[in-house]
Subunit: 332 residues, 2 copies
Amino acid sequence: MSEFDLITRYFSQKFPKRDDVILGIGDDAALCTIPSDMQLAIAIDTLVEGIHFPNMTRPEDIGYKALAVNLSDMAAMGANPAWMTLVLTCPETNDVWLSKFSQGLRELAEIHNVSLIGGDTTAGPLTITVQITGFIPPNTALTRSGAQVGDGIFVTGTLGDAGLGLAALQKKVVLPHPVQQFVESRLHRPTPRLHEGQALRGIGSSAIDISDGLVADLEHILTASGVGASLQLERLPLSRALRDYLSLESAWNFALGSGDDYELCFTVPPSQEDALKNALSADAYTRIGTIESHHGLRCRDHNGRIFIPKQQGYQHFVKLKVSPRKPRSRSR
Amino acid sequence: MSEFDLITRYFSQKFPKRDDVILGIGDDAALCTIPSDMQLAIAIDTLVEGIHFPNMTRPEDIGYKALAVNLSDMAAMGANPAWMTLVLTCPETNDVWLSKFSQGLRELAEIHNVSLIGGDTTAGPLTITVQITGFIPPNTALTRSGAQVGDGIFVTGTLGDAGLGLAALQKKVVLPHPVQQFVESRLHRPTPRLHEGQALRGIGSSAIDISDGLVADLEHILTASGVGASLQLERLPLSRALRDYLSLESAWNFALGSGDDYELCFTVPPSQEDALKNALSADAYTRIGTIESHHGLRCRDHNGRIFIPKQQGYQHFVKLKVSPRKPRSRSR
């Protein structure tokens, strides 16, 4: 089977069809229609083997994660994803690998009704780039720059699971099989918090998805918003995996510093806390701290003492997401 | 200077600012507004060193070409480009290289008022992916599938220059310096035919940009449209470089088979030929053949004899552009 046939087989077909895709894969460009009175949200993220996912990760997990991290960017803006393009660089054409990769990609695409509208393939070290385009009503996007003094700081889900999953794969910790399965699943198949992000439109003052670790990503909000913050460590939402198999201090370090959880970190002004309670169920999020005027981020233990996280979020690769421009129209 | 600073310096700033970009580089996603009653055209193309451009190509030319090939896709649809995202994979962070690369990219972005709204950087073999998004009025896009029997086949510019440029770089031909400069410029800095593509809206029945060679790319139109064609070789538009330094047969082979010219190949029904004359100046395009019902592509010399091109367009990499779906709404 030629590469041409493989791509036709695995990528041209089988992905969700959307009515707003007038012309998909197969021409010089895709053509799409957009709902009136919507803005576009556009994000792009690249995964490189050995850096963004461990060598020997299953191809279906790579496909799943490549889309998940981009959907997570949509979630962090509060946007509804619609279409993706894919650039796949792989060392060789492998029927089995491509089949499984596209299956994992498609699995998540089907959940969120995302069409594959174009892409490119090249030969080289395994690298996957997905660009995603979505919609968002004007003036409702959750940016990084809207946090204000007094806002509560919240996160979705639990933190540090993906980091523990990586540590387990690297044989740094030994876990019972079901626990290892749970944390590996959190590493390989993060859940993009699209429902939560969309529910926060008009309620959250800022948001970011946690890819590099809570401390590193929250600091992007603090820098972009020109504020500081305190976190209360005993409030960090920890899964049973972290609570049962790590010391409290190690669990905090994973929750604060390890990346790849793809939970949302967001801020909400006191005036919107009732709206938050109505928008999301109480078990979907946890308040972990408060925005303060004093710059910098302070993590305090239950005695109010400062805790210095051991493992600060790592800069696996610097993204072109470094110099926020203030949006011209804002929700608040 | 950290990589963070480099990227801020070279990519966050200095690119054209557009009023429709509400939030550019620096958040989880970019936010853009779209004109009412416009459709989106989305294309993505990757350039890999040693495959899509020769090793040792100047970084400013790599930056220029990475955008040019994507703008060429917009041209082939008849779309107006608006925003790009960039994924840059390079072996090391190099201040001089990044500066020159971004300069070349910016040079072409400024000509066509294209904003850089996001991206990603990774370490690895030199690879550049640009995704471009543009606008097009509904039902005016030039697809590959609209050619009909009797339509004229046309190309913009001259063909084979980029191939001769590559041959000169590879020391396969020796050219006087000014001629070498011309053909190298055609290779490294192709001109995306945006004006021509936009002028052909409502006039052309199909279009494609010539990246893999005239024969290979025209065959995409023939396959997508379910038709065949004859070309008259003496009509192929050849630059003085090809006419003066290559035998006629070699010149034909370059014009038919070498890629990277990024001229447009398009078809026009007889009923629209007057409109074509009004839309484009006579020296902007050349009629080279006719769409026929008999499948396949026949190249004939001035005696009407069949000429078999030596160098068929090469499949440098298979793109995800392989299975055209008929557009649901069409210009004709």
